[in-house]
Amino acid sequence: PITFMNNSDPPPPPPPPPPPLMSAESPPVPPPPPPPPPPPAGEAQAHRAPPPPPPPPPPPGIMIDKRRTGSSRSPNNIADGDMSASGVPAREGALENEEEELTLKYGAKHVIMLFVPVTLCMIVVVATIKSVRFYTEKNGQLIYTPFSEDTPSVGQRLLNSVLNTIIMISVIVVMTVFLVLLYKYRCYKFIHGWLILSSLMLLFLFTYIYLGEVLKMYNVAMDYPTLFLVIWNFGAVGMICIHWKGPLQLQQAYLIMISALMALVFIKYLPEWSAWVILGAISIYDLMAVLCPKGPLRMLVETAQERNEPIFPALIYSSAMMWTVGMAKPDTAARGASQQTWDAAEDGRENHRSPLHADSQMSETRSPGPTRPITSFEELEEEERGVKLGLGDFIFYSVLVGKAAATASGDWNTTLACFVAILIGLCLTLLLLAVFKKALPALPISITFGLVFYFSTDNLVRPFMDTLASHQLYI
């Protein structure tokens, strides 16, 4: 058995900015994995050390990042430390109405901005599952799911999967509460170090395994120095991008890649029924954690909101982010200072739709950000919308689609059906976000749709379509 330290944290819901869904799970950093027990003899992977526990999954959740201050919506102050209300009092009234319309008008754009990365992640996962056989072989289980599913009777198997789920969910809950407590008591260094450690592990170790498997699959020879160079570059750039500054697209690409890697790990190491039950249970948990007043994710979001800080950059995917800015002061000195910290992407601000630059590190965000000249407020108004989606959402969506691709006998039909179902769930969730205007869990609706469609397509539609195809009938 391979031991994994699996830190999956339900993503903390980001503070409710304009109604995008933000359910962010803060992935807990996994503690260093205990040495894996010797693999069973005869295993193909016997030589391979069990992968270290995956870092805690990023919190699921969608949050819209809207940088208007004094708007009728709840202030979005998480990711971009937007201008405080004191900055632009005069414009508030006039802007409110516009905001309402603009938000919903841009709603479609945001949905697409979320569709694309989710789709990309799913494509990567499905492509890997279909081509590389490593991820569908059963080589052991996570330590978090100790009950095996190889039992002969159905009832026993069901019981085992339920027990697995309970264990996994409790691990997630504990980790999340731990993270929230740390956040509350301002142990930022600890959290930061934890996140760095976990992303380090993800970037280097999992990439190494992944590359190894892909190369093995296609029978491409690669020597160790080249491999080392490639992985080192990949990992180093990734660390910089995610935790520090970097071009937005690159950061997004890296986040997608680590979500895909994480999802692949889950797909490989979770036994069948447990995976489905876990998916269901985690969406229920997400629902509760985000919406209940005492839910850990909600507390995390609210705390972050109170302190006017962005959520950890390594846990959230943001479609358009802004450098943290502090108060807006209409002075040229501020303009000069802010210019320094703003990225070259700022030039794109002239174009209202350009994505904003990614957030910087925690330390940067905590210190008062550069002030923003008030004159540029207007042109920045429309740019600062972004939608934030927690990485945990990516991961679990990909797990669902990947499992569908791996285990469904209906092959591509089921995968396609799950994909469409998840996208529709995302749409609906975003719609609800527009209605409710606070942080919402992104998992439940999509996962429910996905599960329903998976099981129904696999069992009902597949025989129908197969029979139709064999007679070449068309409906």
Partner: protein, 232 residues
Amino acid sequence: PALGLFLFTIARDPLRIIILIAGAFFWLVSLLLSSLIWFIAVKASDPRDEPLQKGLLIFGVMFSVLLQEAFRFLYYKLLRKAIEGLVALSEDGCSPISIQQMAYVAGVGFGLMSGAFSMINLLADALGPGTVGIHGDSQLYFLTSAFMTMVLIFLHTFWGILFFHGCEHRRWWEIMAVVVMHLAVSGSTFCNPLYVGSLVPSYLLMAAAATWAYLLSGGSAQNLRRFLLCKS
């Protein structure tokens, strides 16, 4: 071709993409329900009775067609409501997308989904080794499937336009014509593998539907000539 349609006309506007995916979703749900019915019918009947199975299959196909059209109608209703919402929200009082565009996109959504479901397993299998038609089946299986799928996708697009137009102007006969055409096309596939019986009528019907939809959308022979001759 359908993918080309998608890329050129839909991928630009995010709203259209959402409508497309929602359309695909509706088709999927209709497929789900129809296969549920068929499944129940099959389970409740005798699996060894061949003609009965075939009959059940035909029944399933017809029922599915009817369900698809019903869902198209439901989708139309939903889009109507959405248009009102969009109009209310937009700044200059008119909707960013017209009902005809929605009809087109919805049709493409339906078509893409149905095409995908029909073709994709075939394509996946086609990548692997094997010979087509080795057991005495037609050797043109893949080709005809491809053509049939393409014609079906186009037909769905045109039916979408026609259907929505009929609903808009309350012309019930248009809606009935769409349903009848759909039934006819599906029915013609029963002639497979006698391909001439299914492909030819389908293409004819598609040409008819295309001209009809084109005329409905405000085109005319003059427009067409100008477009083809690249006049301004």
